[in-house]
């Protein structure tokens, strides 16, 4: 059956935990960048 438009049927469930992990890694990277060159 074709996915219904405008419903929650299409697309996979977002991975919020992965977003948080990447966010923490990016901030950590920026902090290390600052420390390395200050």
């Amino acid at each position: 059956m074709a996915p219904e438009r405008g419903s929650a049927v299409t697309g996979r469930e977002p991975r919020y935990g992965l977003v948080l992990i990447v966010w923490a890694l990016v901030l950590a990277g920026l902090y290390l960048f600052q420390q390395a060159f200050s």
């Binding site: 438009r5 405008g6 299409t10 697309g11 919020y16 990447v22 966010w23 902090y31 600052q34």
Partner: protein, 561 residues
């Protein structure tokens, strides 16, 4: 500019208008025109979300900020991923399930018509004004390049954008955004590469970073808690969290982007693309600014980046004094260059520390002369808002980029402007049509009639924005102007949506009076305290929620609930 570069810019303009116009046939009815019939894939919507946020002000103002102030501004974006997660869990499913065209339409379903109309009106007011500022930033660049009036350049940017948005609708907005985003990122990467290739041969990438770091240009974290400073870790994580929840959750120019997604989960995915990529992208933009700073350590910068003011002073009665400051600046810059070279050549920690201290001293000398020059410009010309940071990157592009890339970068600035303006014009038209015209004037209007009037509304908003842009052209560091204007309403509007989604007992009167109280509080805070504008979002949102709940509660008690 070389004819090849003009050709590239011209080709870009023709191509993007053609690309937008050919999507006109996909705009069936107003749902097709305003929401692409809720059919777009998450990745296109996600790129459109990013392209809408990244305007020419980012290309010009933020690179200038990176040049003058370093990476500190990156902290402003730290809370963005968190805001995207919160919105994905809360407002996004509400909007999709309500099948609305505008964020404000949902407020009528939840509260009442006056709350919907008032928030939509506030959106039209603030976004209508700010879209003018978004046009004027690249207009300034073009007026410098062409040597023509700002009004002409405003029209050159606004008219093509209004044309493809007017006819192609949101399909044109989204699919041109996708291509414009590729062009912008390509242009920025090219600029970074050229900047570092233009450094002296004995100054490597690590040396350049060490010099920038010694000048304090690589500060990415400032943990001081200072309510008067918006570029700290705390402003960026707490206050900016409210700003981003409001911008992405309640500003129609962004809400409309993900309402076009074909499902709730695809709308969420589109927002999360920014959660992953916005901070790295902003770091790239700021790195261009830092690169410009390092480049100008070894290649003397002009005393004034704004060629108009430079010419006025050089040819006016104050020329002798101006030339004296320029000579002094030249000497300070030469001293700074030698100190920077010493720092790049330093081999051990002790000599590096000594060279860094010497470089910092020379850098503050150069900065002191330059500050004096800016004060001199203000006193002599009477232009008290003089600030030429927006000219730093365009000046580099036109003077130091190779032929071909100049055209690409100028086209990228056009693209950044147009991708934001098109989404904003579409959203202004949508709010006008859905929240006012169809709601109050023609609730039973035929689809063909509404579509025709929608196109006219988009065109009229384009004209209005061009008009605002024409006199908003000289406003100092434009990014803050836009954000400051938005912050006056943003927090309060967010407060209304928090009441709508988070507090089932809140009612229409509470939301409406809370909104007025929130805006009044922001006005008072702005007028009588030195608190940085980013925190106004927090003040507005909190006051709306507290007052809204109190009024709702009192109302319930009075009717014996």
């Amino acid at each position: 500019m070389h004819p090849i570069d003009w050709t590239i810019v011209g080709l870009y303009l023709v191509w993007i208008v053609w690309d937008g116009l050919r999507l006109t046939r996909r705009s069936h009815g107003i749902e097709g025109y305003f929401l692409a019939s809720r059919s777009l894939p998450w990745w296109a919507v996600g790129l459109s979300v990013m392209a809408t946020q990244l305007s020419a002000i980012t290309m010009i103002g933020t690179t200038g900020q990176g040049y003058a102030d370093g990476m500190r501004f990156i902290q402003y974006y730290y809370a963005l991923p968190l805001a995207m997660i919160v919105l994905s869990v809360t407002l996004v499913p509400f909007f999709h399930n309500a099948r609305v065209y505008t964020a404000y339409e949902y407020l009528e379903q939840r509260f009442d018509v006056k709350t919907r109309a008032f928030t939509s009106f506030l959106f039209l007011l603030s976004r209508g004004m700010s879209v003018g500022v978004v046009i004027s930033a690249p207009a300034i660049v073009l007026s410098v390049v062409l040597g023509v009036g700002v009004t002409t350049t405003v029209l050159l940017i606004a008219v093509p954008t209004a044309v493809y948005t007017m006819f192609g609708g949101v399909q044109a907005v989204t699919w041109t955004d996708v291509k414009q985003m590729y062009l912008i990122v390509g242009g920025l990467v090219a600029a970074v590469v050229v900047l570092f290739l233009r450094l002296p041969s004995d100054v490597g990438l690590v040396d350049a970073m060490q010099i920038a770091g010694a000048a304090g240009r690589l500060q990415t974290f400032d943990f001081r808690f200072d309510l008067t400073n918006q570029y700290t870790f705390w402003s960026g994580t707490i206050a900016a969290f409210f700003l981003f929840c409001s911008y992405f959750g309640t500003d129609q120019s962004q809400v409309q982007r993900y309402l076009t997604a074909r499902s709730v989960n695809e709308a969420r995915q589109s927002l999360l693309m920014s959660a992953y990529w916005k901070i790295p992208l902003q770091a790239l933009v700021l790195l261009v600014g830092v690169g410009l700073f390092v480049f100008h350590l070894f290649t003397p910068p002009p005393l004034l980046f704004n060629p108009v003011h430079d010419r006025v002073l050089r040819q006016g009665p104050a020329a002798p004094e101006f030339l004296a400051i320029e000579r002094e600046y030249g000497e300070a810059v030469q001293g700074r260059k030698e100190a920077a070279s010493d720092l790049a050549r330093a081999e051990d920690d002790a000599s590096r520390a000594a060279a860094a201290a010497s470089f910092r001293a020379r850098e503050s000398e150069a900065r002191e002369v330059r500050d004096r020059a800016v004060t001199f410009v203000k006193d002599t010309t009477g232009d008290l808002a003089y600030n030429d940071v927006n000219f730093v990157f365009p000046t580099f592009i036109l003077t130091w980029m190779p032929t071909g890339l100049v055209g690409l970068l100028i086209a990228a600035i056009f693209a950044a402007a147009m991708s934001s303006i098109s989404a904003e014009l579409a959203s202004l038209s949508t709010a006008t049509m859905i929240d006012f015209y169809r709601r109050f004037y023609r609730p039973d209007g035929a689809d063909a009639h509404l579509l025709a009037v929608s196109r006219v509304a988009t065109g009229l908003w384009g004209l209005f924005a061009a008009g605002v842009a024409a006199w908003a052209a000289e406003l100092g560091s434009l990014i803050e102007v836009v954000n400051r204007f938005g912050s006056f309403f943003y927090g309060s509007i967010l407060g209304v949506f928090i009441l709508a989604v988070g507090f089932p007992r809140a009612n229409g009167h509470g939301a409406f009076l809370g909104l007025i109280a929130g805006m009044a509080s922001v006005a008072l805070v702005a007028a009588f305290t030195p608190i940085a504008f980013l925190w106004h979002n927090v003040v507005g949102a909190v006051v709306v929620v507290v007052v809204g709940l109190l009024v709702s509660r009192v109302g319930s008690l009075m009717i014996g609930d």
